[in-house]
């Protein structure tokens, strides 16, 4: 072929490509223009609830919202749990975050990031939800329509509501009722801890008799310690009650963790305290009901063991209920965690009884990003999500317990409703999950001495005792540094709020300053208590 002809063909192809590209761009531009003319708005919201039922529920809520607001399209972005924190931070920092985001606190999101990347929703929380019109919640401020008073969406240090929750999660024991019937001849779920222990023996007898390997409890690193820590907590309720001055009760163990740590350093309790020993014995007893190596198992491994009928019980949260029910080929029963009562002959002496769930905070919280192109529409969608009807769709399809007062609950969801009758918890083996990192590490690296086949509470305590006090001191130093930083950061906020209030720069300045001061005082007190505990130790 002659070079001239080849050039002509080449230029022709280039021209065709250029024209095709131009035509595509023009068509695409026309479509965009058409879309803007029709004023359709798209709202995107991201979450990490990939459990069965959750995505379907969000889809239906979006669909119902579009029916009410035909010019709005709502798109959900389900992101896997493993990558969610990194994804979230990248989107926020990159300015590409969707309109609404489910926030995971401490996993990449802290107060600064909330303030920087999200919009306060306090005005929304203070006003009635228009989507509740015609219901008994009509005219009631949004925050008052939540079981928890919308505490789950309130950020103490920022003195603002920043998020809207959708569910009040709880943890329960899931039973394989078919297996239970085979083992005991009935599907009666034990009511007491003593009864539960008898059931565990019968599982072992059945397993030996039938020649099948069945474990009483399917354990994983996440749910096994959650269960055993709660039981330990129950054993230390009376100890903590006696340590607290003049009968004061704190709502949770985080509130009084620094005091408990300083009590330990002052010799007011120890690993040899009878209640603490009893707690470790109880942990060991339960650990022996789980499959070997449970501390290294993932949540999915334990679920598989339960689904295959190789374990009678699994401990999990309401978020897993629909997934477990859909995958199981047997009927599933539910019961609260088995707490020994004061009447229990072995473990009754130190306990008050099962814990109260009355103060559980609502979770799965959605916040509005500052870079939302349509903040008003996104806020309106949040109101629908938090309405009685929106929450009804949520609970009906997801199988999760609701967050909004008066939402009807199906029979199979009812066992997940928080149990109000109960007591405040005591200590955890690591005092508290909040801040006590060295103590947690000290315990977890020695748990094989407690849970192993030749383990015992005695072996664990003897190994941990020489390290326990130093770990507390190291954690208190970290807590002190962290509180010092919070208090320093609060100073700029305090100064600004004071200036705004003194010069009447915003309408709600006095209220914010007042709230801030009370909240900051709690941090100040914790800081000074920590400093004093460390000074006394030196």
């Amino acid at each position: 072929m002659r070079p001239k002809l080849r050039n002509r063909i080449g230029f022709t192809l280039l021209a065709i490509c250029f024209l095709a590209s131009l035509s595509y761009r023009v068509r695409s531009h026309m479509q965009t223009a058409e879309s803007s003319r029709s004023e359709t708005v798209t709202i995107r919201f991201a979450h990490w609830q990939l459990e069965n039922g959750a995505r379907e529920a969000f889809e239906k809520i979006a669909e119902e919202y579009t029916k009410l607001n035909p010019k709005v399209m709502v798109v959900q972005l389900p992101i896997p749990e493993e990558i969610y924190p990194n994804w979230l931070v990248t989107q926020l920092v990159g300015g590409t975050a969707p309109d609404l985001i489910e926030v995971i606190l401490d996993a990449g999101v802290n107060d600064e990031r909330i303030a920087h990347f999200f919009t306060p929703l306090t005005d929304l929380a203070d006003a009635p939800n228009p989507y509740n019109k015609g219901t008994d919640l009509d005219g009631i401020p949004l925050r008052e329509t939540f079981f928890d008073g919308m505490k789950g969406g309130y950020f103490n240090n920022l003195v603002e509501y920043y998020a809207v929750p959708v569910s009040c999660p709880t943890v329960r024991m899931f039973f394989n009722l078919e297996l239970l019937r085979k083992i005991t001849g009935s599907d009666h779920i034990p009511d007491t801890y003593a009864e539960m222990i008898r059931l565990f023996s019968r599982v072992k007898e059945y397993s030996d008799r039938e020649g099948v390997r069945i474990f009483p409890i399917a354990g994983a690193k996440s749910n096994s310690l959650q269960l055993m820590n709660r039981l330990f907590n129950g054993q230390t309720q009376t100890l903590v009650e006696n340590l607290n001055p003049v009968g004061i009760i704190n709502e949770n163990e985080v509130d009084c963790s620094v005091r408990r740590a300083s009590d330990y350093l002052a010799g007011r309790w120890s690993l040899d305290s009878a209640a603490v020993r009893s707690g470790f014995n109880l942990m060991r007893e339960i650990s022996q009901q789980m499959q070997p190596g449970f501390l290294r198992a993932e949540r999915e491994d334990a679920t598989l063991l339960f689904i295959r009928g190789q374990a009678l019980i699994i401990t999990s949260g309401s978020w897993d209920a629909t997934s477990i029910r859909q995958q199981a080929t047997f009927p599933v029963g539910l019961a609260p965690l088995p707490f020994p009562t004061p009447q229990d002959s072995t473990y009754g002496k130190y306990t008050k009884g099962a814990p109260s769930e009355a103060g559980n905070k609502a979770a799965a919280i959605f916040a509005l990003t500052r870079n939302s192109a349509h903040p008003e529409v996104a806020r309106d969608f949040l109101l629908f999500l938090a309405s009685r009807s929106g929450n009804q769709i949520w609970t009906d399809i997801s199988g999760w317990p609701p967050a909004i007062i008066g939402t009807k609950v199906r029979k199979d969801i009812a066992p997940f409703l928080p149990i109000s009758e109960g007591y405040v918890l005591g200590l955890q083996p690591n005092i508290s999950w909040m801040g006590f990192l060295d103590l947690t590490s000290c315990c977890t690296t020695h748990y094989h001495l407690l849970f192993g086949s030749n383990g015992s509470a005695e072996a664990f305590v003897q190994a941990v005792k020489p390290l326990y006090g130093d770990a507390i001191v190291s954690d208190l130093r970290r807590i002190l540094r962290s509180n010092q930083e919070i208090v320093k950061r609060n100073d700029t906020q305090f100064a600004a709020l004071t200036w705004i209030a003194r010069n009447h720069l915003t309408a709600d300045a006095d209220r914010k300053l007042d709230q801030f001061l009370q909240s900051a005082t709690l941090t100040d007190r914790r800081l000074y208590q920590t400093r004093l505990a460390l000074a006394a130790k030196q």
Binding site: H116, E251, S356, G422, T492, W499, L505, T521, L522, L532
Partner: protein
């Protein structure tokens, strides 16, 4: 707070509208061509906002309001840039701008000794200005905070001296009276003997009559009451302080719930059964969704019957 100034908004005149549109035009142009930075834009918008607000309102609505709001939302670095860049703004009050710069410098990241020193210098300058009392109180309080929390090593004696002076001299000012709370923490949560702590408790008790602002007084009483509990001090005094704090108005739910339980428990211990009963009932009525509800219900039922 202390002084009430009412802002009365009037409609913009045609000149102001033109100026606003001009500023908006700059904003759009800047947005597209990246000719001016985000913080310059803020200043441009500040000019537009202040012009639109009308001549008589320029004195009441500070053009630095967005910067203060950023600072109130933990955005110290952004706020500091706005305060710094407003230096050449003709409508901005120099004192307000410099104090804003100082308090944000304390938390500009990374925190440097140079920034803390500059903040201390600014605060020191305004603390010494006796003519502007409110500004001086503001500067003194945060100067004390710099000595107490930001300087390395800390200079608690200097902080204590300022806090004491603020409480003594500026009765009725809520910020000055907040110093009383700081004195409670610094003096009592110290590694000292019980005897010395008792002496300090007695000294701090003398502050009560001086406090006139509700917020300053409430927080002082709250912290004194809790300190008596923390150090096993007089339950009668603890009750008195907590009741006084409640009278001044506790609005934070967590603080209110904890205070009511403390009053009831202290009352129960002192044989003040009616007081205990009243506060148990108040708690039960308001805090139904609280982990302590069931326990408090039981404690109420266990109280001896009223005579």
């Amino acid at each position: 707070m202390n002084e009430v100034r009412t802002a009365s908004f009037t409609g913009p005149n045609i000149f102001q509208v033109r100026l606003y549109l001009f500023a908006r035009g700059r904003f759009i142009a800047g947005w597209f061509f990246g000719l001016i930075g985000e913080h310059s834009l803020r200043v441009v918008l500040l000019v537009a906002t202040s012009c639109l607000a009308g001549a008589e309102n320029v004195q009441t609505v500070s053009p630095l309001r967005p910067a203060w709001q950023d600072a109130a939302h933990f955005l110290a670095t952004d706020a500091n840039k706005s305060f710094t860049q407003a230096r050449s703004h003709p409508e901005v009050n120099v004192g307000e701008r410099e104090l804003g710069e100082a308090i944000t410098l304390l938390n500009v990241q990374p925190r440097t000794a140079g920034n803390i020193l500059r903040a201390r210098e600014i605060l020191g300058k305004y603390a010494a200005e006796a003519s502007a009392e409110e500004t001086s109180i503001f500067a003194r309080y945060f100067l004390a905070r710099v000595y107490e929390a930001f300087e390395e090593p800390a200079q608690p004696e200097k902080a204590l001296a300022i806090y004491k002076e603020l409480v003594d001299r500026y009765s009725g000012d809520s910020l000055a009276e907040h110093s009383a709370s700081r004195l409670v923490f610094i003096e009592l949560y110290d590694d000292i003997s019980s005897k010395e702590r008792d002496r300090r408790f007695a000294e701090l008790e003398e502050l009560a009559p001086k406090l006139k602002s509700t917020m300053g007084r409430r927080d002082y009483h709250l912290n004194m009451g809790n300190a008596y509990i923390d150090f096993g001090g007089s339950p009668v005094k603890a009750i008195a302080h907590l009741l006084a704090a409640e009278t001044d108005g506790i609005t934070n739910r967590d603080v209110e719930a904890a205070t009511w339980i403390a009053i009831a428990e202290l009352g129960r211990g002192e044989g003040e059964i009616d007081l205990a009963r009243a506060y148990y009932r108040k708690f039960l009525a308001k805090y139904e969704r609280d982990n302590r509800h069931y326990t408090i219900q039981q404690r109420l039922e266990a109280l001896p019957l009223a005579k």
